[in-house]
């Protein structure tokens, strides 16, 4: 009787481990994702007031100077076919969809807008001497159970971020989780914390949700074509004039 009870306990433990193991399996984020909107909720309002950011005075001066330069003419990186960069590339995606392609050693995030690509590396971390600053930085991820934790460093200073400008020393940590709503809609959530003592007096946090969009495909986003055509036209003119 004691042995039976003991076996039952062992069996229960093994069963429990099996469940835990299944729960820990990495979910598959592969697919095309758009902004999540809860059923029945209103569309987001443009221009809704934003809480002021806890910028340090020097950083605020840089950001204000940038806006004084470009705002009167409505200029922006995107208007010049430049990718947004982190954290805006992730937080701002969804109007234009983004596609995630998940491999064991790397997760590709392809943003339709500006045909921007972000790579989240898994497994072996690159050596610091092999990295250089970039608008999307260097992202390294690891699975913690069914959550993906992504750490991003090696960013360029970006005062032109629409919401969260940052210095080159900013560090962004994201936690991604995937759930299915009662109606079957798959929802991907990112909880972001950006730590940047050079720009901010405290860490910045934000949350973003997307929903899977079955049947949607990313469209090409050639953006420099008109500029190239205009350049060619100028060359032709110069050739004819010469």
């Amino acid at each position: 009787m004691i042995e039976t009870w003991g076996l039952a306990r062992v069996g229960a433990v093994v069963f429990g481990l099996s469940i835990a193991g299944a729960a820990a399996a990495a979910p598959d984020f592969t697919g095309v994702w758009g902004n999540y909107r809860a059923p029945g909720s209103a569309a987001p309002q443009r221009g809704a007031p934003q809480a002021p950011l806890p910028l340090r005075p020097d950083a605020k001066a840089k950001v204000d100077a940038y806006h004084a330069l470009v705002d009167p003419i409505g200029d922006s990186p995107g208007g010049h076919c430049l990718g947004t960069g982190m954290p805006g590339s992730m937080l701002g995606s969804g109007g234009y969809p983004m596609e995630i392609v998940q491999h064991d050693n790397v997760i590709l995030v392809v943003f339709e807008a500006h045909a921007e690509i972000r790579r989240i590396y898994l497994g072996e971390r690159a050596k610091a001497e092999d990295l250089f600053p970039d608008r999307n930085g260097y992202s390294f991820g690891r699975w913690e159970g069914d959550k993906l934790i992504v750490e991003t460093t090696h960013l360029k200073e970006a005062v032109d971020q629409a919401r969260y400008p940052h210095s080159e020393n900013a560090k962004i940590v994201e936690e991604y989780s995937l759930v299915a709503n009662d109606d079957g809609t798959k929802v991907l959530t990112s909880k972001m914390t950006m730590t940047d003592p050079e720009f901010y007096t405290q860490p910045i946090t934000a949350e973003k949700k997307w929903q899977l969009q079955p049947g949607v495909r990313l469209l090409p986003y050639e953006c420099n074509e008109p500029a190239w055509e205009e350049h060619l036209e100028r060359l032709r003119q110069a050739q004819n004039d010469g």
């Binding site: 409505g74 208007g79 109007g95």
Partner: protein, 120 residues
């Protein structure tokens, strides 16, 4: 140019692409005005990213002239129903165009009614 007073064509149609272009600054335009209709003859319609370029020959109280409008990206117009060849030079089309803030010619084409009545 005239203001279109009714509830106007499905509001959702006009608002739908909003989220996608929100990251491009459109500060030159008064996007709160979403019922300004402009009809003219197409001189140029270049569906492009990040923004479409539309030149219309417009006749109004100021006379007849070519006016350049900016529009949503090609991708947004595509998802709203635009297809290649739908708008051609010489077509008479109508724009739902947010006007410029300073009142000068031009605007931001929130929506288009093509010559055959297709709306995008």
């Amino acid at each position: 140019m005239k203001r279109f007073g009714g509830r106007l064509l499905a509001v959702a149609w006009v608002l739908a692409p909003f989220a996608a272009f929100a990251h491009h600054s459109a500060i030159r335009f008064d996007l709160t005005i979403r019922d300004n209709m402009v009809t003219g003859i197409v001189k140029q319609f270049e569906a492009a990213n990040p923004h479409t370029k539309i030149v219309l020959e417009v006749t109004d109280a100021k006379g007849t002239r070519d006016i350049e409008y900016e529009g949503h990206s090609r991708n947004n117009y595509y998802r709203a129903g635009w297809r290649e060849g739908m708008v051609k030079v010489g077509d008479k089309i109508t724009l739902i165009a947010a006007p410029t803030r300073d009142g000068s010619d031009g605007g931001y084409a929130l929506g288009v009614i093509a010559a055959d009545g297709t709306k995008f």
